[in-house]
């Protein structure tokens, strides 16, 4: 499998901490400045997740906050005490036109640190 040639600009979101179950949190914000030329979108290219004493948990990536969260991918399993990394060859090529958010349905303890790398297009 070949990685896709870049059509856009590689960017990174901040390290985001999610400490509450079923609380969708923004992982990367789409650029929508009033003075930018055109509509921007982005694709998730890389994901780095650390479980801070949470045990093994499911993480959903999608759009929307709170009750409006809608998963864009199947949930991924984040393992405790191990590097959890996904790269573009493993990630479906979904294009986001809204902020990308993450949600943990069940979080027995601790929290997750999450950082996303995206390719911004437009």
């Amino acid at each position: 499998m070949l990685t896709e040639l870049n059509k856009g600009i590689i960017r990174q979101g901040a390290v985001v901490n999610i400490a509450a179950a079923a609380t969708a949190t923004t992982l990367y914000q789409v650029s929508n400045n009033a003075n930018q030329i055109g509509t921007k979108s982005f694709k998730l290219k890389k994901l780095m997740v650390r479980s801070n004493g949470s045990g093994d948990v499911w993480l959903s990536i999608g759009t929307g906050l709170g009750g409006a969260f809608l998963a864009s991918y199947p949930a991924i399993r984040v393992l405790n005490n191990i590097d959890n990394e996904w790269q573009e060859v493993e990630i479906p090529n979904i294009e986001f036109f809204a902020d990308m958010t993450g949600s943990i349905p069940v979080l027995p303890a601790g929290s997750l640190d999450i950082q996303a790398e995206v390719e911004e297009i437009g």
């Binding site: 870049n6 059509k7 856009g8 600009i9 590689i10 960017r11 990174q12 979101g13 901040a14 914000q29 650029s31 400045n33 003075n35 930018q36 030329i37 921007k40 911004e120 297009i121």
Partner: protein, 190 residues
């Protein structure tokens, strides 16, 4: 954005000169035009022409003069350029005249221009002597950027004034010449 650096050399190697030695040009600027003959030319390698600075999220910086684009007397330059950080650039030359101004918007350049237009033909601008352009940077994203750098390259041309006889032939269309738009004015009757 170091992954965007190496593109500049591929672009520069395939950049054609707008005119050659011993050819005539008409330098068009705001309010005037000059007839010139090209005596010599030299390539300017790709380099960082200006860093407009750090920009907070969703913020535009004030226009900044690109003083490092200034040339000696009797020279004009042909530039191609692109931003290597994720911001949008609007060009003015001089500072009061917007480049690529349409009826409803001024077209700007973003770093993905290098993948859409690898030779950067669509970014080409010209400057005369020390009449540098101004750049206005917009960080359109929700994330701050630490720098807003522009890479530029091109050619500088050393020119001389044209004698009255040749000028008359140029004006009458008897002598071929190339138009060099050294300001941001759009096309139209001069």
């Amino acid at each position: 954005m170091d992954n965007l650096y190496h593109h500049a050399y591929k672009s520069a190697l395939q950049m054609p000169q707008i005119a050659l030695i011993d050819q005539y040009v008409q330098i068009r600027k705001a309010g005037t035009r000059l007839w010139r003959k090209i005596l010599d030319l030299e390539m300017i390698p790709p380099h960082q022409i200006i860093n407009l600075g750090a920009i907070a999220a969703n913020t535009a910086l004030a226009k900044q003069n690109a003083v490092n684009m200034a040339l000696y007397d009797d020279e004009f330059a042909q530039w191609r350029w692109y931003p290597i950080d994720p911001f949008q650039v609007s060009v003015y030359n001089p500072a009061g005249i917007a480049k690529w101004q349409l009826r409803n918007r001024q077209v700007g350049i973003t770093p993905d221009i290098i993948t859409r237009d690898p030779l950067l033909v669509s970014t080409e601008i010209f400057t005369w002597e020390d009449e540098w352009p101004s750049f206005e940077a917009l960080n359109y994203s929700d994330y701050a950027i630490a720098a807003s750098r522009i890479i530029a390259f091109g050619f500088r041309y050393i020119t001389a004034e044209v004698d009255a006889t040749t000028t008359a032939r140029l004006v009458d269309g008897l002598q071929p010449y190339t138009i060099v738009p050294c300001s941001a004015l759009g096309p139209g009757p001069r």
